[in-house]
Structure formats: structure tokens, C-alpha cells
């Protein structure tokens, strides 16, 4: 199903890191969260439980593969996962590496900011460094292939 007014039903305007015929992984290029990724279902489906159990499992395997890749590359203090969709009810998962010195920590990045956007030395080194898109895409691809081809789920 394709919905004309839905931003996620169109080709992405973000950096495409991975895609198959079921979903895609994009980098949001968020200024405060440069490694912030999103896993977007291609079909316009609102809730996880609107999907079949096998499709839910496939979606989550992809989300966890992205989580693994982000942890290996950025070594965050915490991973935040969320599927809200109140504004865009087209299934997508936020995968956000969080650092103790990031703008909102320990709050949700949708919550109150705890410090301004001025990067600390630690931020500059760990978070604000430009993301190596190729390396991230390669690691995400490797983890997704491994997860989707694994019999255990």
C-alpha cells in the first residue's frame, strides 16, 4: 500500500545505508545525534501487530542488526530503540546511540535538553566526528545478512 501524503512512502531523502524488498535503513544526519539511524518498513503499515509474526521477527532482526553495528562502531553508553509513529503512522524504528554527554542524556532525546549544543571535547571526539558512511553501511549489511540467514529467531 502506498499513501501519497506519507513521507515514508516515498524514496528516502536521508542517507540510505541498506535496503531490501521489505525495509530500508537510513542515517538521519541529525546534528545532535550523528549516528542516529532509522529502520523503515517499505509498506505503509501502522503497527507491528498489523504485520504477520514472521514479518515482525524480520523487522526486529534488522533493528537488532543495526543496533549491533552501531554498538561496535560507536561504543555508546546506551542504545535507545523506539517505534512511535504518532506523526507518521508508517512503521519505522528509531535506533539511537546515546552518550552520557549528549544533549538530552539521561532523558529521551524527545525530552528536555540537559545541556546546550556546544560539543565538549569528549563529544567532539566520540559523537560529533563525521560518520564513516561506508564503514557503517558495510557493518550493517554484514549483521543483517547474518541475522536474516540464521535459523534461530
Amino acid at each position: 500500500m502506498y499513501v501519497n501524503s506519507c513521507a515514508l512512502c516515498s524514496p528516502t531523502s536521508n542517507t540510505l545505508l541498506w535496503q531490501d524488498d521489505f525495509c530500508r535503513v537510513v542515517l538521519l544526519n541529525d546534528v545532535d545525534y550523528p549516528a542516529y539511524c532509522r529502520v523503515e518498513l517499505l509498506a505503509h503499515v501502522q503497527e507491528m501487530t498489523d504485520l504477520l509474526p514472521l514479518q515482525r521477527a524480520r523487522m526486529m532482526k534488522t533493528v537488532f542488526a543495526v543496533e549491533l553495528a552501531l554498538r561496535e562502531i560507536f561504543n555508546p553508553d546506551k542504545i535507545n530503540l523506539a517505534s512511535l509513529g504518532n506523526k507518521t503512522p508508517h512503521m519505522h524504528w528509531h535506533v539511537i546511540p546515546r552518550f552520557e554527554n549528549d544533549r538530552h542524556f539521561p532523558n529521551s532525546h524527545w525530552g528536555e535538553a540537559m545541556r546546550d549544543g556546544e560539543p565538549t571535547a569528549h563529544d567532539q571526539e566520540v559523537i560529533k566526528a563525521p560518520v564513516n558512511i561506508e564503514a557503517l553501511a558495510e557493518k550493517i549489511n554484514a549483521h543483517i545478512q547474518c541475522a536474516l540467514n540464521s535459523p534461530a529467531d
Copy 2:
């Protein structure tokens, strides 16, 4: 693993809806979100990818079973799912039925409030009504049993 300082390593102080030897489902009795549930892993594990793939699948099947039960009973406009854990890094999933007239919609319930806590007539009828704990627990149990006993994941 049990961590003395961790709020989720102790028996819950919330309303227990379901529990097995792996995780528990609780009702938070949140004044703005009376049907707000949480699925809490019993073990003190920080990230989903610290779990084995089969454990991740078991956790998500439980989360989706709670989502199904909440949808059937409350018919929300949207379901919000999130695993953050920045303040309490012990794996737990927020499962929040959202309504267009709730306090923060369409924002995250961690974000800016869009209206005050005064319930509208619609709120009073749909959201603010006391939750029938027994009926909710029964439906959650039925969906979890069905999901955990299903070969498809």
C-alpha cells in the same frame, strides 16, 4: 545477575499483570496514561543485543502480545513502543496506547505536553476510565501463551 541499586531488580511496586521465569508485565498506573504497560526482563541485562537471538525473540513476542491485548481492549489511535533505559539500564519495554486527545499527542509522552491534564469528555470515556485489571491480565496471558507456543517467529 542482581544489582542492588537497580529498581527493576527487585519485586515490582507496580500492578503485576503477568510473569514467568524470563520477564514480567506490569501496569504503571500512570495518571495520564492509565493503560501504560511495561515489559521487564527479570535478569539485569542492558541491551537487547546482550541477549541471545532466541531471548530477543521471546522478549519481543511478549511485547507484541501486550500490544495486541491493549489494542483489543482500548482501541488506541497509535501504539508507542520504546526501550530506552538511560536512567535504569535494565532491559524493559514501554508499551503505551496513545490517543489523539491524550496529554502529549502527537508528541512522544516524554516530549512537550500539547494540552493540560484536564480530561475531555472523550478522555474520560476512553482513556481515563479505570482499567479492568483482571480483563487486561487475562487477555495478555492469552496472547502471550499463544505467541510463546507458536512455532512461527
